[in-house]
Symmetry: C2
Subunit: 160 residues, 2 copies
Amino acid sequence: MARSTTEPRWLDADQQRTWRTYLLGSARLNERLDADLRRFGLDLGEYEILVTLSESPERRVRMSELATAVHQSRSRLTHTVSRMEKAGLVDRQTCPTDRRGVWAHLTDQGFTLLETAAPQHVEAVRRHFVEAVCAEDYAALGRAFAAVIAATEAEPPPSD
Amino acid sequence: MARSTTEPRWLDADQQRTWRTYLLGSARLNERLDADLRRFGLDLGEYEILVTLSESPERRVRMSELATAVHQSRSRLTHTVSRMEKAGLVDRQTCPTDRRGVWAHLTDQGFTLLETAAPQHVEAVRRHFVEAVCAEDYAALGRAFAAVIAATEAEPPPSD
DNA sequence: TTCTTGTAGTTGAAGAATCAACCAATACCC
DNA sequence: GGGTATTGGTTGATTCTTCAACTACAAGAA
């Protein structure tokens, strides 16, 4: 089947402006939150790992579930968890019921670090995001990204 | 001055749900757009560089302006442009009026690649973002990130 | 049982991002 | 003019991510 040769449907000026605003804004937001977490030797990805573990029963989660929860590749998670393990924030436990499985488990030290970092991080999220935006727009943003998630899931990733 | 010891103002359930939806959604969106551009050997950052150059007079922009335009650090841009130069997409021209300055300049080959990639990229942006979201929410999202940008600029980055 | 297929996770090498240090040219100031 | 601070950009080491194998276990079929 031939690729379409019809004229591309470019974005109009408003659509493009919004798209670029999003690109810049999300980049800035990430920058700020990362900079903020760096006081604690963390980045946003590592912080999300700590949060996910802290909210889970026994403070442990299977590696592949964790990868999904923090939207990282399995490989990346392996490396990240290895680093965090070296830093004493998590440890690994082999899963007795499925011996392929590995639990990432939050150590007391990791929990303590999370307790220390969380208040400042949440404040930063408020200042730069939640409270920077009016309530209606914030709610709309939630709907918007829910729709984005649905759209990305509706279509399989390109593989060819 | 002592750090505040008052109870942290956690996000409520709705705020938190939206925040996490954003984190997941933006990660997914990036993933998809990157995957899409990879057919052309590009990632989103490199694509933005090509676009910025293509829209500029003489198809060239000073490195530091370009860094701002594509929200990358100067160092990162230097490395990225070096790679792109090796690939023949851009070249460097020294600026005669300010001999510290360097212009990144889009080559014909770079322009051709952009022309090839752009239609598919724009379609992907439409499918996964612009048209995935209803028009009102899309407009709200634009306002929201404009506010985020303002908020991040209102406060200097943490340095201590 | 054995054979096959799929899932869980890791590994190591290669590629990219970050950080601090650096050089060079300009701008400011006395 | 001469000194100092700033700006523009690069460099190389370190850290992090990605990618393509690869091992080990589990599940299902013959």
